[in-house]
């Protein structure tokens, strides 16, 4: 599994991380080592095996459609790094 620098950069962007040159190199190498380590899974016959996505034996858990108290606007404000006009303020959004 050979990873290019561009691969690591693309993944870092997906995860919204900016990495320095040194980090790109280090994480790239470590990612490659770990991916190499997990390659052993390819030896396992897994045809027809269902994936395990959930472990809890409970199923169909749902709640009644009944309102419950939440937070006040003041509590939201206390949490937020920036708040204006009752709203959480963020820097401008780039058009995707």
């Amino acid at each position: 599994m050979a990873l290019t620098r561009r691969d690591v950069e693309a993944v870092a962007h997906l995860a919204r991380l900016s990495l320095t040159e040194a980090e790109l190199e280090r994480y790239g190498a470590q990612l490659e080592a770990i991916l190499g380590y997990v390659e052993s899974l390819n030896r396992l016959p897994l045809e027809g095996v269902e994936p395990t996505t959930h472990l809890s034996p409970a199923t169909d858990r749902a709640r009644p459609d009944r309102p419950a108290p939440g937070l006040t606007q003041a509590e939201v404000e206390a949490l937020a790094p920036e708040f204006r006009a009752g709203s959480v303020r963020v820097p401008k959004i780039l058009e995707e």
Partner: protein, 495 residues
Amino acid sequence: MMKSPASLTIHEAAAALRAKTLSSVELTKAVFERIRAVEPQVHAYLHLTEEDALAQAAASDRRRAAEESRGPLDGVPIALKDNLCTRGVPTTCASKILERFVPPYDATVVTRLRAAGAVITGKTNLDEFAFGSSTENSAFGPSRNPWDLDRVPGGSSGGSAAAVAADEAIAALGSDTGGSIRQPAALCGLAGLKPTYGRVSRYGLIAFASSLDQIGPLAKDVEDCAILEEAIEGWDAADSTSVRLEGPSVTQASAGDIQGLRIGIAKEWLGTGLDPEVRAAVDGARVPLEKLGCTFREISLPLQDYALPIYYLVAPAEASSNLARFDGVKYGRREDGANIVEMYKKSRSAGFGPETKRRIILGTYVLSAGYYDAYYLKALKARTRLRQDYLDALKECDALLSPATPTPAFRIGEKADDPLQMYLSDIYTVSVNLVGLPALVVPCGFSAAGLPIGMQLIGRAFDDATLLRVGARYQNVTDWHRRKPPLPDSGEGGV
């Protein structure tokens, strides 16, 4: 010389409180005195709540005077891992990204502890977001092993383990995703329980890997583990994966003998990489258990070698998703940026430490387009087979016995730069999370250098009580758990 009340177990403290030979305020004060004495060396805590603790203790004493005491935890000082949300008390996950975060709500386990009358001493250190096995990944500095201050207490619940081992709390809660309760319990000479997945509500536990995480106790003995599990477990409307429990309570079900129990030992566990001292100690535990009526048999878990690879795909994938929310928008740390993407990247890059970034990158990669089937899906399928191995083994055995860790506590810095080496210290614990079973770690010896060694008992789903029963009977006839670390300032009592 009288033993400091801080060195008591929950059940000993509860007995003293009940007999009114000790008040909760006295006990709480003793714990905070101990914290003042040893915390500079141990660094178990990230945040102390002394004032509030003393108020809770006074309230407990008033309840007791009015004969309205709420049970064995009423008035007992308990520490919480700092990834459990506490209303009005900072909850950081040992990350700079949550440095300013004060949750407006309590985790369900915290609500339940408070309802049981427990006194909360503070929030303990951990590897950032519980990613690690040593607390070296804490943004606020590592905790140290009370048995040897140059060594790690294990992780990620290393702060909770160090606090309890150093008598800075009577007991503590931790969380376990791949061994984060059991590995530090083993390295610090404590009992630690990872309950069956679904047994304890995860609401308010800052998620690492949602399909693996469970909250559980770290305590001075197995009996205390049972008391704590009973207080925190059970169905919770706020966690869809929590389960309604039936039958007798854990403390009732863990009483009684262990005559005739069949215990399996997998041959795959005793291979290379296992420290001979650890191997000898775990082997040595068979003698008292056999005397108590248990029989041993060799079993096979052919997929054991795949557990770590599966874990290092599943856990980072879920973690990368769970940690997407830390973006500087609604709470936590924000770094200025000219636009939203720049703000995200600066906040996350400044807020997360190296191991966190590493796992986010790994997890993002294995979930990304084109790789999902090759990595994540494959891991989920292998997980199914691993689980089948365990279920099969537990058809002919009532419990399984393994080492808890391949070695005793390692030195601080020893594995810090080699993630794969670090990951190997979880080799005996990760499977249990992948298959959702309960597991208990119990001290079973010491190395020649005086470091604690733990063994792990694995049980059937929702049969946590059998493990607690085996552990408690074992502790009736052994005294590994009674030893205290030789800390430079060990208060009035000492060993």
